[in-house]
Symmetry: C2
Subunit: 320 residues, 2 copies
């Protein structure tokens, strides 16, 4: 694609995931990286080429206004700076006020309306006023356990129950991911870690709410459990098992099961829908989350020009 | 959902598939069946309740203008009357001129632009002028081998090759489907049948073009093969094996493999994408096409009010 037809993007937050997003965006024929931002003193001021071989002379800015100073109209910011909306909202607001659309990997932003109704409404109004779009997505939440499930409505109707499972071995994942599931901790350490915010997989309830909204199911209450996984009760914790369950008043059931522990013999993702016809879909070997989150962010960025303005969700993203 | 909020639909064409669509639409909480049409003298004039227990006193009309005489604004026609666009275009035009949106199971309509460019342009202009939407979809073409593949862009980037397989045992399917694949014919009979239009699975090249468009791949030429499947060269033909292949100028490869024969030990659907990360998705036991086509039609109908006007494809359908 000629450079002038490419969608301009700025990558903000150059941690392990941000660097993967940056590399993916540089390689994507439909995107042009016009800037990068990180507040870390060790990264700001360096060239992209010093972070990713061949990435060129663009200098990483310390803040978004600097990076966006010469950004063309329609530029999209790819933000990977935190899981919790209260923590990342100022950065989203800053981007919106600069006239930039935002694709954020913030897990709570995938479906912010339940946990943060007032903030969601304010963000939506702000984005509409600025004529930009804000969406939260990685591959999970954002695709594997939610949008993909809703997509399957084209293959199954008269649905009575939905079961989604993401079971993975954390050992090939990034160290921060392994820490988030408490891999290798003693049971006491795990219990202490699990009591702190940010532990475990963030976004499972968000995924459940996306599925419910996509199927038009009114589920008054979701129950979530988070448990340690130990192969041997006296041994170390190998990771987590989380589940979210909900039911409509007329008995249609939704459950999402997330497991990430080193006792997993083979990673997989699975969606089973009890309807007409009954269907069971499975990703053999699972979907490697770090690379797939890059895919989700890049795919969302590419459709931002064709998405409605305001605070939207992955259910609002067109296919192209 | 209160009746007044339901989307009004008319079901046109009450063959084996049309009756399934009718039953599905009657049961769908978001839809209200306001009419039905069939030109067959044995069906027109009968009540829906005489065709489907409990379906009520609505009388099947002989033609669409009669069925649509009192249809509310926004009514969508669910048409299942043929695989070839030249054959069904008059019925689509009639619906459009009556101000009705159309969801058609016509396989060629899934991606009509290559085989029928002039007709596509005329249909698009006509639908836009009438302020309605026309889309072609069943589950295949329309979902399993095309739209679903494009949806997976949210999980994989830097794609080098895409392989889609739909392998099914025709024995549980409708008899017309078994005939279309030549199950049980002698090799001579099969060869004669395969030489006639309408033999085999229609829409495989359409699916390939949808995938290519969804990935933004420019594939100059598609090659299609259609072969009989025989377990024993002296015995009967058990069905068909079809394949469509294409490649971009820079070597990215797309292949769609469709097999339907009674030598299949277990039906399955499979999508393998070579990219970052590599992914392989599989439907265990396959997706039962007759029921799933009903799902595809009902799901498309439900989003018609939120889809742009004109002749569109499944790539243009929103998720809700």
């Amino acid at each position: 694609m000629p450079l002038s037809n490419r969608l301009p993007v700025i990558v903000q937050g150059l941690g392990p995931m941000g660097l993967r997003v940056l590399a993916g965006a540089i390689a994507a024929p439909a995107l042009a990286v016009v800037g990068a931002v990180d507040c870390d003193q060790r990264i700001a001021g360096r060239t992209l080429g010093s972070l990713i071989p061949g990435a060129g002379p663009t200098v990483v800015a310390r803040d978004l206004p600097t990076a966006a100073a010469n950004a063309p109209p329609g530029t999209v910011v790819l933000q990977g700076i935190g899981s919790f909306l209260a923590q990342v909202a100022p950065a989203i607001e800053e981007a919106v006020d600069l006239g930039l659309s935002v694709v954020s990997t913030c897990e709570e932003l995938a479906w912010p309306f339940a946990r943060h109704p007032a903030l969601s409404e304010a963000l939506d109004a702000r984005a509409r006023a600025a004529g930009v779009t804000v969406v939260g997505t990685g591959v999970n939440p954002g695709f594997l356990m939610d949008r993909l499930v809703v997509t399957l409505r084209a293959a199954v109707h008269a649905v009575r129950a939905i079961r989604v499972e993401r079971v993975q071995d954390p050992r090939p994942r990034r160290v921060p991911f392994q820490r988030k599931v408490g891999m290798g901790l003693s049971r006491e350490e795990w219990d202490a870690a699990a009591a702190r915010p940010g532990f475990g997989h963030a976004g499972l309830e968000e995924s459940a709410r996306i599925v419910a909204a996509g199927f038009g199911w009114d589920i008054p209450r979701f129950e979530e459990t988070l448990e340690p996984f130990q192969a041997d009760p006296a041994g170390p914790v190998l990771g987590v098992v989380q589940e979210v369950r909900g039911e409509t008043a007329d008995g249609r059931r939704l459950s999402l099961h997330f497991a990430a522990h080193s006792g997993v013999s083979a990673s997989y993702d699975r969606i089973a829908i009890d309807g007409m016809p009954p269907i069971t879909m499975r990703f053999e070997g699972g979907v490697f989350g770090d690379d797939a989150t890059v895919s989700a962010v890049l795919a969302a960025a590419q459709v931002m020009p064709h998405t409605r303005r305001g605070l939207v969700t992955v259910l609002d993203l067109p296919l192209r």
